[in-house]
């Protein structure tokens, strides 16, 4: 089974991955002082699944209330991996959800995905 759930902590969001649905969701707040262990864990698990599954499509749902500046690099790296999957032939969709009137989070989603041409970005509010 490639499915996994990483429970939320005070400073990291909950991560859920369902291989059958080819869908990952990340929900909550993300502001660890050192974000790399959190992101490296997700990246490693997803990369292993991708290499074996070569899925035709993949959806990543981000529903975040707050991200600190050091975590933005982690999100960037994660999205860069998804973009590579897109390049490789997988249809990649990123759903970036933010709170109403949270311009900062809305703009972060756009900035993060901006030069990743293989990602279809959809934004929504929650």
């Amino acid at each position: 089974m490639s499915d996994f759930t990483i429970e939320a902590t005070a400073v990291t969001p909950q991560v859920t991955f369902e291989a059958d649905a080819r869908q990952m969701s990340l929900e909550g707040e993300c502001y660890p002082e050192n974000p790399m262990p959190f992101f490296d864990g997700i990246t490693a698990k997803l990369a292993t699944w991708y290499t074996g599954a070569k899925p035709p499509e993949f959806v990543a749902i981000f529903r975040l209330q707050y991200v600190n500046s050091s975590s933005t690099k982690g999100f960037r790296a994660l999205l860069s991996m998804f973009n590579d999957w897109g390049k490789d032939g997988t249809e990649v969709q990123v759903v970036w959800e933010h709170e109403e009137e949270d311009d900062t989070m809305e703009e972060l989603g756009q900035d993060l995905v901006e030069d990743f041409g293989y990602i279809h970005l959809e934004t929504a509010t929650f």
Binding site: Y31, E33, N68, S69, R76, E114
Partner: protein
Amino acid sequence: MDIGSFATFTQYAQKSQVFYYYHGEFSTPIVEAAAHSLKARMADEGTAAQKSRKLFSTFIEMAQNVMHYGVQAQTAGGQDVDAKLGAIAVGKANDTQFWIACANLVAYGSIPRISAKLREVQTLSLEEIKRQYKEQLRNDEHSQNDAVSKGAGLGFLTLARDSSEPLEFHFLSDPTRTDNAAYFFIKAVI
């Protein structure tokens, strides 16, 4: 602190409408607890969501800045104290605005670099801040050299983006220190 000094301290705090003040070790659990207490306070007072978010973000960026870049304090004997020390305070600037200020030790030699970065950020418009932020986000090389970041890092840009006034900063050297460290102060208005 004698009781007279404490009385003076509380009067200053009251005058500046300080409602949160912490001085001591900056560690992950302490910063997390402080951030949650600040959030509860904002919710209690019915602070507008956008202002709450900016205040919370500024608090985290300032506190984590101390943890990342602050130099370790030393005892009088020159031994490293295994903790990053600093102070952070939040208060009301007026009926609609908050101020938030942070103090920590930095290496004396890093003062020109930090000053240059902050002076540059002070001159930027909100649009320019956002543009630089976007550029910095793409600059993968930067993350490799983050310990001595070049250009204004994402942290300072995030603070500047959320502050309604240019960031203020100040350095104070202490001739009695033997560890080649100086005090660094930074302030934002939300």
